[in-house]
Symmetry: D2
Subunit: 155 residues, 4 copies
């Protein structure tokens, strides 16, 4: 069965994040995975553009009540009209989650994915979660490159 990989990241991202997201989109499309994303700007738009450049299928899951503001490279647009609760739908639809860059919305998706407990969660850049004494909370794989992130997601 086709694998579906959610790629999450800030709407207002760095140039490095956008380049990483574009490359992740290319790699996922080349390997036949469907890309699920939030369908907005920043990392969402970049991963969609990368995947479409390689002929991939990209589904954008939008928070508002219309497709307005959706990025241009989506194969289909799911309009949830459920605000940030749509982050839970993105995560529930994924066989793996890759986060690129840090933001509170992105962190909510990473946390919801770890809460599921049954799928790979890979971070490329972005924030870290630590205990009060500074020791990392385990479970997220922090990848160094788009290639490593996609390899782990599809392992």
């Amino acid at each position: 069965m086709t694998r579906q990989v959610a790629v999450c990241g800030p709407a207002d991202c760095t140039r490095t994040d956008a380049a990483n997201a574009h490359r992740v989109g290319e790699l996922l499309a080349e390997r036949g995975a469907v890309v699920i994303c939030g369908g907005g700007t920043g990392v969402m738009a970049a991963v969609a553009a990368g995947a479409r450049a390689k002929g991939g299928l990209v589904i954008g899951i939008r928070p508002g009540d219309s497709a307005a503001g959706a990025c241009p490279d989506l194969s289909a647009t799911i309009v949830t009209n459920m605000g940030e609760a749509r982050n839970a739908v993105i995560v529930a639809s994924a066989d793996a989650v890759i986060s690129i860059g840090g933001s509170w919305g992105t962190l909510s998706e990473v946390a919801l994915a770890m809460r599921r407990g049954d799928i790979p969660v890979v971070a490329l850049g972005g924030w870290h979660v630590v205990a009060a004494d500074g020791t990392p909370v385990g479970g997220i794989h922090h990848a160094g490159t788009p290639e490593e992130a996609v390899d782990r997601a599809l392992a």
Copy 2:
């Protein structure tokens, strides 16, 4: 922009409903529309099969917490894990709604679509909504054939 048409109907449908759904799926795919459906059995499976037979894109929006039970002809599967609230997501994602056959779940989708008030709602078979004195409540277009239903939805 690509139009997205939701096709709703019973998981346990009649043979006529299934045939109508298959034909609606074919027609929508031929006209380049993305089909949104609930991704289950009955009308959902039939419209997906029809659309895929013509090379169309079909997105299934599932109520449970996994893709288990999804019909085989989906291009992508959105796992909402929100039960019948997913009916609202199907409707919110649509530029038009076609219902085929009658069931309470189907009626909830028709009602949510009419509640939106800004998209065509077309019924092919199924139930009717009337006032206490038996006069029809207006707004839904009752079509006689798959061709008429699709014409109205894409008008």
Copy 3:
């Protein structure tokens, strides 16, 4: 355990609907049931006012992203930010559903309640659902008075 009864109806309702809703709220509060409603105007505001007049607990489940526009007699306001998908939450939270008056939003709640299949669904006024030949689709109890509606809901 305390019973929770959802009372649904149009935001823009008739005077009869409002009077019925107020009386239903009084009766439910007198019998110790928690009232769940949409927390808006019309039937929602009337049932809340009736219940609060008798010291009852009323929870309003709102569609938007804030409590703005909520009716004044709520004990607590749940802000779903999920639009009409909140109708599914109202229904899922109920041990019985009473609809008062007719509207598409109200019908979506009745249909979702019938879809559940495991709770009483009582209608006081409002629309009817019929097959193509005009025969009623069974399952909804059409009550003639607020007292009968509450009796059936709590039976």
Copy 4:
């Protein structure tokens, strides 16, 4: 208007977390705030027990399709049937969020609350969010006592 404070924390929490949650519940009830929680075990049950001990109103927002498994001290139980997407409803309903202890579900609620950007977010114990170089990501107020947490939430 009555303030509503969401209290979030692990279903499987430490004794310190439970004691803190009980005290936070007492303090919120004494100050007239409605407590919103997930309605389960651990921190959720403890904050509900504390609030009810002081006569407060506590609403539990459950992830499943029934009230089964809800903690005993709820004034009302909202059954969302939307899994962890209910975390977004908890956060959307709050005028302030207090997290007690660390878990991925809890972190998703903290992240969604920070994503809102318009309410106080207070942590009592639990995890920290840092950038790649270990510097804290700002915005969450880390409180040392239940009293400080409630003061900040209601400030």
